[in-house]
Amino acid sequence: MFDAALLNIVVYLPLGGIALLLAAPAGQDAFVRRLTLGLMTLQLALVAWLYLRFDPTVAGLQFETRLPWIASWGVHYQIGLDGYNVLLVLMTAFLGPLVVAGAFTAIRKDVKLFYSMVLLIQFAMLGTFVAQDLFLFYVFWETMLIPMFLMIGIWGGERRIYATIKFFLYTAFGSILMLAAVIYLVLSLQSTTGITSFAFADLYRSQLPLDVQCILLAAFGLSFAIKVPMVPLHTWLPDAHVEAPTAGSVILAGVLLKMGTYGFMKLGFPLFPDATLAFTPAIMFLAVVSIVYGACVALVQTDIKKIIAYSSISHLGYVMLGLVSLNLYGIQGAVIQMVSHGLTAAGLFLMVGMIYERCHTRELADYGGLAKLLPVYSVFFAILTLASIGLPTTSGFTGEFLVLLGAFGAAWQQYELGSTLPLALASVAVSGVVLGALYMLWFAQRFLFGAAKAPHQPFGDLDLRERAILGIIVAAVFVLGLFPDEPMRKTELAAKQFQQLVGTSRTGVRAAGEPGRGPAASENGAPRFARAGTGSAP
């Protein structure tokens, strides 16, 4: 009970923080910064406590709060932690203080408003992760959009208006499709089972014919795929990153992109298992295309922020590949890869911000030999680069290795059943490790090595604040690389549940010759089976 209350406190703490900030007198920027940092640190401490209390042997929700909200629509205020979100919540809380501290010197305009936006987005992101009711989820999901929009629009670079509109159009387009699909889904649940509910757990039991599932998955999937982003829905991302302030980029790459992959994992795939199975080759194909395409385009960028932006597309491709493999290694790897990318991309974007504050350019050609000029900076940069390309002992390796192991394992099974395409795609994905090394090391070579040059010299190496931020990230990168067992135990049951949900047919029609894919798996599947069998989709 106490822990459940604590989870609520964690979520609403940022809102309380906003109230405090707005009440603070004007001109107290230093106070505002410290207050926000303090709140974020407190939030992290609370989340860490919950993380430690989280019992890996319990399937389903923990620290749950469930209150009726809009009773007539069956909407509940329902939040809780489970294996799906526990690591992502921890990562979001972990990045919070780092984002705040990282913006100490960069943001000098409208400081109060800026930190309010950071807190607001933190609130919305945590809410989205912990929400267990689709209505609530959608509210949080939409809330994320606004502060991000403002952050880029107000504190962004020169082409910020173009970037914000593009960002808004893409994500709003996705959201509208999702909203339509949500309404349709709930109404059809109501008409087939008589239950009016937005709860994920109830929606997981809906029975829909394959064609309806396909349309709904397409609507949810587009919304999520835009967020991930998967090629060819990705072009908003590089622009948004380039124009966003550092904090915006860190939040965007660190957490917001995972909303897409988390959405697929928590909603898209398990809600529409049959459609997922039908689309698997296509999703796998797009995941592999994202891996290769993102890496190739990163190779030819000249703006250091764009290199990392495109690398995100490639790395999130691995997450999608792992999820769609439906293989336990692949799913676990996908979760770790999400966290790992959150850490490395956040670290790299922070580092881009640090160099930008010193030199006011992001043109790679203006730099060279930073290892000589900024040795400490370069060590951190090199470590994060290596983590990004999945070098063993870093978090990137854990994620990539398990994803590829799972994807390959699943593809090999398909191959033995006579289908070659997945195996070919998995093999291409494995070759992606070469491209990853190629663009990142070429980047590092031009950036760190060679004759020393930079637009403004001499300038100071990292200060204590910057070293602390990066040191913490690097430590987490190594912990997740060397000792991934403990966190993965917390997610294993969820991974199995995901596997089981997506592996169980819910068209309402028992598929002949496919043992174990009938609807009988759910406890009260039989009556719904009969009802849905009449083909009474609304």
Partner: protein
């Protein structure tokens, strides 16, 4: 000492962390340097002694492998990935080489790098390398091996680009890493396939599975070929050998340790370690032997004409590694490891000798600008000469024994030996003898071709360097008597010999000795007397000479066939056509169209805030009414 094996691995890591974190900051002064040196050299020596202790224990245990499980890396679906170390005869040999030769090269480096401003950073990297190399050879599972495998690649990357201010050196480091990664992709595929079909990554269990009554349901040759792709990267075989010659950009002791004695033999170790697979993979084994022979031959031809002392040795390493793969391909795994060992001795000695020469000549690496050094740096000369004779196969030095066994099995093994294979390998041996004595001659004999300035400064290296050279020269001389194949035979049996060929053994030994002396004679004949005959020969075959000097222009071909198309595809097709024209172009076009058509709707946008507020409120009220009506 339950965790002795873990400790062996961790000792150099401690050196890396301490030297990396503390000494780089405080190591500038004399005391700091002493601390760095003591730590950097002391810990590998401790690891060596501990390895010897483990070997004694292994012997006491009747050669039952020692296993030391450090911790569980991951447990997924009830199956665990453990970080465990494994010590048997093969591991013992490899670990002794790595820690033994490694320690010697650390000591040598203390003299060689004395003046370098990044002294502590150098030793931190060198210790890091040892850590990963020990993970590689001691790891029980392919996962741990792979961690070491990628890790040594990292250390190699850092050390090749050690003088990173020179863009060419930084580029060489990157090239090494990328080319290795291409191999690693094959390695990963092989590993995944094994895990999927055998269900474990522990190499002893994999071997057992392939040696069991029912073979795993996977083609051993497919797995073998995929893993061998990894080996071609790390061990510089065709088609992925191109990084090794460039890797000579690193400090010379690094070339000796990483790019000659230890890391590049990792591919050989991998195949020998998984001999259980290759014994059941005749196609993969034939490929291993074929690639090995081709590499041995072509690399040797390139070495014939190179003039950079380190490049000659680099191509020689590629060639010698090729011979090791020939041995693996015909099933003589123990013999390959034997050659790994003797090669570690004489090639480390040669590289360190070359380092001593370069040190004496203030950085000069072109053998055309050397000559007559024998009397000026006598210790370097004598040790270099012994190692040269050893690699050339002059009996009774180390190289003679190991190479002779390779040649014999390439001819007579019942597992794919053939006259053709033997001919190619023998030709490579003949060339080896020639180019090595050519190198020796041009460096140490004849008239001096040094500039007056350089000649004035020539000096013998300090004791820390010459002492190491002496030890390695001694090992190069007597290492052949180690009889390693015999020691390894209980776990790596020698292949059967085709009975009809048995009586040829003496003849073949005779031919091998004759080839070694022929190479020596040819080198002296061509390069003695001012190298006039060599020049004449060059003049008669300018095209062939140009082709060899240009290394068959493989780098250029790769650039033209791989690098440029990839960049073109990424830039022109993906970025410009895909992102900018197709995707953004469509979106921007849609937006423009929307703006035009929305012009008519925009009339309701009067800018009147009260109207907006009223409309918004009306919407909310309507929604509430609708909700209330439907409850």
């Amino acid at each position: 000492m339950k965790h002795a094996l873990t400790l062996i691995v961790l000792l150099p890591l401690v050196g890396f962390l301490l030297n990396g974190f503390l000494a780089t900051r405080f190591g500038g002064n004399r005391v700091g340097k002493g601390f760095v040196t003591a730590l950097a050299c002391g810990l590998p020596i401790a690891a060596f002694l501990l390895t010897v202790a483990c070997l004694v224990r292994l012997q006491e245990a009747g050669y039952q492998p020692l296993v030391d499980t450090a911790y569980t890396w991951a447990l997924i679906g009830g199956r665990s990935f453990e970080i465990a170390f494994y010590f048997d005869r093969l591991t013992a040999v490899m670990t002794l080489i790595v820690t033994g030769v490694g320690s010697l090269i650390h000591v040598y480096s203390a003299g060689y790098m004395k003046e370098d401003e990044s002294y502590a950073r150098y030793f931190a990297y060198l210790n890091l390398f040892l850590f990963f190399m020990l993970l590689l050879v001691l790891g029980r599972s392919l996962l741990v091996l792979f961690v070491g495998w990628e890790g040594v690649g990292l250390a190699s990357y850092l050390l090749i680009g050690f003088w990173f201010e020179d863009p060419e050196k930084a580029a060489a480091g990157k090239k090494a890493f990328i080319v290795n990664r291409i191999g690693d992709a094959g390695f990963l595929l092989g590993m995944f396939l094994l895990y999927q079909t055998v269900g474990t990554l522990d190499m002893d269990r994999i071997n057992a599975a392939f040696n069991g009554a029912t073979l795993p349901a996977v083609s051993a040759s497919l797995v073998g070929i995929l893993l061998f792709i990894g080996a071609t990267g790390k061990s510089a075989q065709i088609p992925l050998y191109v990084w090794l010659p460039d890797a000579m950009a690193g400090p010379t002791p690094v070339s000796a340790l990483i790019h000659a004695a230890t890391m590049v033999t990792a591919g050989v170790y991998l195949v020998a370690r998984l001999s259980g697979i290759y014994l059941h993979a005749p196609e993969a084994s034939a490929l291993v032997a074929g690639i090995g022979a081709a590499t041995a031959f072509f690399a040797a031809t390139i070495a014939l004409v190179q003039t950079d002392i380190k490049k000659v040795l680099a191509y020689s390493t590629v060639s010698q590694l090729g011979l090791m793969f020939v041995a693996l391909g015909v099933g003589a795994y123990g013999v390959a490891i034997f050659h790994v060992t003797t090669h570690a001795f004489f090639k480390a000695c040669l590289f360190l000798g070359a380092g001593s020469v370069i040190h004496a000549l203030s950085g000069e690496q072109d053998i055309l600008k050397m000559g007559g050094l024998a009397r000026k740096i006598p210790v370097t000369f004598v040790t270099f000469a012994i190692a040269t004779a050893a690699i050339a196969g002059i009996p009774p030095l180390a190289g003679f024994f190991s190479k002779d066994e390779i040649l014999w099995f390439s001819f007579a093994s019942a597992r794919g030996g053939s006259t053709f294979l033997w001919l190619v390998a023998s030709a490579a041996s003949l060339m080896t003898s020639f180019y090595m004595f050519r190198l020796l001659w041009l460096t140490f004999f004849g008239a001096s071709r040094m500039s007056h300035e350089v000649e004035h400064h020539v000096h013998e290296s300090p004791l820390s360097m010459t002492g190491v050279l002496a030890v390695l020269a001694l090992l190069s001389a007597v290492g052949g008597f180690l009889a390693l194949p015999h020691f390894l035979e209980p776990m790596l049996p020698l292949p059967a010999v085709v009975p009809a060929l048995h009586h040829h053994e003496r003849t073949l030994i005779g031919i091998a000795i004759a080839l070694a002396f022929t190479g020596l004679a040819a080198a002296v004949f061509l390069y003695g007397g001012g190298a006039r005959r060599a020049a004449a020969l060059r003049g008669r075959f300018p095209l062939a000479h140009g082709l060899l000097l240009g290394k068959y222009f493989v780098d250029e071909a790769y650039d033209f066939l791989v690098s440029r198309p990839l960049l073109w595809l990424s830039d022109r097709v993906f970025l410009r056509l895909g992102d900018r024209v197709l995707l953004d172009g469509t979106l921007n076009g849609l937006a423009a169209w929307a703006q035009r058509t929305a012009g008519s709707l925009s009339r309701i946008q009067t800018g009147n805030l009260q109207l907006y507020a009223f409309l918004a409120l009306a919407g909310v009220v309507a929604a509430l009414v609708w909700t209330w009506a439907h409850v």
